[in-house]
Symmetry: C2
Subunit: 363 residues, 2 copies
């Protein structure tokens, strides 16, 4: 029998997260920014990056690893670029500040390229790139993360999942939203396979000797790591490794933040993370007219392709799976969560004296 699911209204979720965060010490405005970010992840179906991570964000504040007030500071800027000190504030607070700066510059000169140091986990990269869509701009966001990817030929983790997000507007509120790790999957998917006692495909990870393995435990718990996107050297994994390093160039290297294996361990709260992030806004209107027409044309062309026999569904473009999930939530009147996940969140809330999460209805 499937586990019971409950629907939670977005406003209730936002209030719940904000309450938990302010209770551990975050200022209300920052708490609300984080709440919007986590909510957006779950709404788009990226449950790994939403409410699921509330405990991590709370722990960072409880253990004084993240600043609870103040604002990011522009250290250096040109008409089109900016270097921002995140002042060790919450990632979404820093990222929102930077993306707004990039958008402002893009409106003035066609492009804004902003990097931040002294930032923290910023949630889903797509939240930032999509901020540009509201201004009819292309948005991009990049972030370095804790080491979990083993470079091609190596046996030790150096780079993180280092995500790339690029959002571009199309006609009628349609859009292209790429939001991807530069590893084949997130580490969370390996964890799930481990919990379910299933092997992983031989393209996901290596053990601590750098050998491809189908044992999730070897990757996840015994100091192995993820392969880069593309898998092994023979199947083009060095490209994913190169992309991961490109993201690091844009983030830690450009901003002067921690980078590569200097970044703290994923689950550590014993030192500040000093992550590097990069935000870009680009105005299509300074290039050829008709951008959104062409964007819609290409996307619809792909969507209308005949699917291969046995394919998992219709041909999609980046952003379509998330669009489906958003539609599902809108029809439900909120975001569906497994009972178990809500119970975990309620546990966190109880510890800090916050009311349990409100369930709209059971499914």
């Amino acid at each position: 029998m499937a586990e019971t699911e409950y629907v939670v209204q977005q406003s209730d979720l936002r209030e719940f997260i904000t309450n938990c965060m302010t209770q551990v010490g975050a200022c209300p405005e920052h708490a609300d920014t984080l709440a919007q970010n986590l909510l957006a992840a779950d709404y788009r179906g990226h449950y790994s990056h939403g409410l699921n991570r509330l405990g991590m964000y709370m722990a960072d504040i409880e253990q004084n690893m993240v600043e609870t007030k103040g604002e990011p500071k522009i250290l250096k800027q040109t008409v089109s670029t900016g270097l921002v000190d995140g002042n060790n504030l919450q990632g979404p607070v820093v990222g929102k500040f930077c993306m707004e700066l990039a958008i402002q510059k893009a409106k003035e000169t066609g492009i804004g390229w902003v990097t931040a140091r002294h930032s923290n986990h910023f949630g889903i990269a797509g939240w930032y790139s999509m901020m540009a869509l509201e201004h009819n701009l292309i948005g991009m966001a990049y972030c370095n993360t804790s080491p979990c990817m083993v470079p091609t030929r190596a046996r030790k983790k150096v780079l993180g999942t280092n995500p790339i997000s690029v959002a571009a507007p199309a006609n009628n509120d349609d859009n292209f939203v790429l939001d991807m790790a530069t590893t084949p999957v997130a580490l969370g998917k390996v964890e799930i396979k481990h919990v379910m006692g299933q092997p992983i495909p031989p393209t996901w990870g290596v053990d601590n000797q750098g050998q491809v393995t189908t044992d999730p435990k070897a990757v996840y718990l015994e100091d192995g790591g993820l392969l880069p996107l593309g898998g092994t050297e023979e199947t083009g994994g060095y490209k994913g490794y190169g992309l991961g390093m490109m993201v690091e160039v844009f983030c830690g290297i450009l901003s002067g933040a921690n980078f590569g294996s200097n970044i703290r361990h994923w689950s550590s709260h014993s030192e500040i993370s000093n992550l590097g992030q990069c935000f870009v806004a680009l105005d299509p209107s300074v290039f050829a007219p008709g951008f959104t027409d062409r964007m819609s044309d290409l996307m619809d062309h792909c969507r209308n392709l005949q699917p291969a026999e046995g394919s998992a569904g219709p041909v999609q473009v980046a952003g379509d799976p998330e669009r489906q999930h958003v539609k599902k939530c809108d029809e439900l009147g909120g975001i569906p969560y497994p009972a178990q996940q809500l119970a975990v969140a309620d546990g966190l809330a109880k510890k800090c004296g916050v009311e349990p999460i409100k369930r709209l209805k059971a499914l």
Copy 2:
């Protein structure tokens, strides 16, 4: 017995290519730009994109598909962006013009983002991104190409190999140079497997029904196509598909060039190609001081990692294989070519009345 190889001096190669191109009608300056581009590809070990393609560039001119004189034109610009009409000139002529424009803007505002339409095949993307290195800038180049990649779940080619190149300077003339297709391999590698009668790995391509195949013929000759980087849907191929579309956004969609399946077939010379390209220069000095130190630190950290048992060699970073080939050429006093490849080039030269290629020595 291995086929004889001959070493050709770079100056002789440059003269040879220039002669062939001017003989079919290119103006000397444009012919020389193409020669430098093809030469750079072979020098860096990317033989697929060098002298090997001379015949294609000659055919484009002989069949009046490419303009032989004039120069690209800036249609629109801001202090940090530019839209360029390539006027259907040779790709390297357009690309060099655009990259120089991007570099100039980056020196003034920290960043230059330039897109071109009405361009043609521009050779290796790394030639453009690396132009920025001479100015201590980060360089990027993107290009759309003829359809050869089948989107995840589909059975028909839509996007090209759509390369991404990002070059970043490090200390002591060291550098990071990512130069990669967003497919697992170039179509040329499938062709080679076909010629050698070998199967391809099950992560490279699909047949014309969208089914993964190990038969190079099905991919290469029977209307199949390459998978995106990452392979099938299960192994993360939708990410490579998304990256290929991101490149198309930067190129055909932003510039108003042909895009996706509107682009002419790879071997076609029956219509102009109207390719879209994108060139970016970014000045690290407008961000945190010490960029090259951090870049060297990360690259050397990776290079010094203990390789996995059975790995094909030491751990490398993007640009290292090319660096090795450059070093080999420098030691040889020129670029080594198989006798057969030089014979093909001589055949092209003979048809247009140019002296055969000068061999410095046999290996």
